[in-house]
């Protein structure tokens, strides 16, 4: 029986910040799911804000490393999926407010 909860996994991933926008991946709504097996192997299902993201490999590596820091964790896998495609409605309200904040020029 594994004692790690989904909330703990999300909390660990929330330490990973996208350096371009300055928000963590969880509040950006990029983490779709965290599947925890009884053996404590964890599969994180996530997406990226853009398909051609030049940090793709590094971000998945940071997510894996963040989850691996949880005590008692088994093998961690990170799957990047493109369906459903990310859009701003998936982000937390504070992200939406910050990105859309300020007077738009046009």
């Amino acid at each position: 029986m594994c004692n790690i909860t989904k909330e703990q996994v999300y909390e660990a991933i929330s330490t990973v910040i996208d350096p371009e926008v300055g928000f963590n991946l969880v509040e950006m709504g990029l983490i779709y799911d965290a599947i925890i097996e009884e053996s404590c192997n964890i599969r994180v299902v996530m997406t990226l804000s853009t398909r051609g993201c030049p940090l793709h490999q590094m971000i998945t590596q940071w997510v894996r490393e963040a989850v691996e820091r949880l005590e008692g964790v088994g093998v961690v896998e990170v799957d990047v999926v493109w369906e459903p495609a990310w859009n701003i409605s998936m982000a937390d309200d504070n992200v939406k407010a910050a990105l859309g904040g300020g007077a738009a020029m046009w």
């Binding site: 330490t15 990973v16 910040i17 350096p19 371009e20 926008v21 300055g22 804000s49 853009t50 398909r51 051609g52 993201c53 030049p54 940090l55 793709h56 490999q57 590094m58 998945t60 940071w62 490393e65 963040a66 990047v80 495609a85 990310w86 859009n87 701003i88 982000a91 939406k96 990105l99 859309g100 904040g101 300020g102 007077a103 738009a104 020029m105 046009w106």
Partner: protein, 414 residues
């Protein structure tokens, strides 16, 4: 699933020279504008010399440096041999200096400068074409990159032949081929490349999603048709064909602008940072250049042609490039100096890695300079033109400082 590994991303040391040298040619290029007469013909040797200095030394140098980073992002495979970029910038720099000064002081040197530029570009094209051969998913963007490279090859070969005509006196009608050379390089390569790259970069930085891509697909096809049509019209001496295919190219730019409006309307990120302001001014300039270009087809006035070219090169190309430098250089520096520290210590965000105040000054002075000098060209006022150029020089000084500031950010982390 596609990802860019560290093997795909070129080493920072390899591409930093492109940006440093590009900023130098930009600064010197705008200083040299003080010595040009805005009433000159487009075929004046001083104008052509300056054009090559600016387009090769600044525009092409920065595009090549950016392509070293962006080709894998756009076509989703790694470079065939990224080490080739090590020889591109020295050849391009030397060739540009010889060509730029050759036009003005020593036409006999032109073939030598032209040969160096030709060699640099063939090396670039070799890497790009071999990289494209690895692509599995042939999207319209990939096809466009391939066609744009063919246009660049045709354009530089045409240019080299013309340099032989001017420098060595071989029997080629330079006036006839000048338009073809300009259309192949500016329309066929630079504009198509910017269209392709902006389709990737604008949604990436603006967080735009789910938008219709019909206009950009039309723009790609029309630009390719327009450039090919102009080439063959010139080859067979069909005057009305040239005008028709210029209109086709203008239609392409109109669809491109429509696409840009769609992307901006669907953007999630609405902050007006230096990048957004630069894009706004750049696309405004492109719209104005388009209007002047269409007017020139009906009112054959040299000022309209030069004005259109001015807003295209100094307003559109320059602001798109400079605006993206505030994104690309911090990313490259961050990737090299800070990505290994993620999770170990606090790392800066990308928006902290450019000098905000100097960047703002660069934008204000450069935008004012482009507008004032552009009016000088259109109204035939050398005084107004030089007043605008003075603003541009101050803006270029801030740009030069900003590029150095960004490249040196976090140097103590090495």
């Amino acid at each position: 699933m596609f990802s860019i590994s560290k093997d795909y991303a070129p080493p920072f040391e390899m591409i930093a020279p492109f940006f440093k040298i590009g900023a130098f040619f930009y600064l010197t290029g705008v200083i040299f504008l003080l010595f040009l007469d805005p009433g000159s013909s487009y075929s004046d040797m001083n104008i052509i010399g300056w054009t090559h200095w600016f387009l090769l030394g600044f525009i092409m140098m920065i595009i090549f440096g950016a392509m070293a980073q962006l080709v894998p992002v756009v076509v989703e495979v790694g470079h065939f041999s990224v080490d080739l970029y090590l020889v591109i910038w020295p050849l391009l720099m030397a060739g540009t200096v010889i060509m730029g000064t050759g036009f003005i002081f020593l036409p006999a040197a032109l073939p030598y400068g032209g040969l160096l530029v030709l060699t640099a570009m063939i090396i670039f094209l070799y890497d790009t074409s071999m990289t494209l051969r690895r692509v599995e998913h042939i999207s319209l963007t990939v096809k466009t990159v391939a066609v744009a490279n063919l246009f660049l090859l045709s354009g530089i070969v045409t240019g080299f032949v013309m340099s032989l005509a001017i420098g060595e006196g071989i029997g080629v009608d330079v006036n006839k081929w000048l338009g073809v050379h300009a259309v192949l390089v500016l329309g066929g390569y630079v504009t198509l490349t910017i269209m392709g790259l902006s389709l990737i970069l604008l949604p990436m930085f603006g967080l735009s999603h789910g938008f219709d891509e019909t206009p950009i697909n039309r723009a790609f096809k029309l630009m390719i048709a327009g450039v090919l049509g102009y080439f063959f019209s010139s080859l067979f001496g069909i005057g009305w064909g040239n005008i028709l295919f210029l209109l086709v190219m203008f239609a392409s730019v109109s669809f491109y602008l429509q696409q840009i409006i769609i992307i901006y309307k669907t953007r999630a990120r609405k902050e007006n940072d230096i990048w957004a302001k630069s894009m706004f001014f750049g696309y405004g300039s492109l719209s104005f250049a388009l209007i002047l270009g269409i007017l020139w087809l009906f009112i054959d006035a040299q000022k309209l042609l030069l004005g259109s070219a001015w807003f295209l090169v100094m307003g559109f190309f320059t602001f798109l490039i400079n605006g993206h430098l505030y994104k690309i250089i911090p990313f490259l520096v961050w990737f090299k100096r800070y990505s290994p520290l993620v999770g170990k210590e606090r790392v800066p965000m990308l928006h902290e890695m450019y000098p905000k105040r100097e960047a703002e000054y660069e934008f204000i002075f450069s935008a004012a300079g482009v507008a004032i000098a552009g009016m000088g060209i259109l109204f035939g006022s050398a005084t107004l033109f030089k007043a605008g150029v003075s603003f541009l020089i101050i803006g270029a000084g801030f740009m030069f400082y900003s590029v150095a500031w960004m490249i040196n950010y976090g140097k103590n982390k090495e």
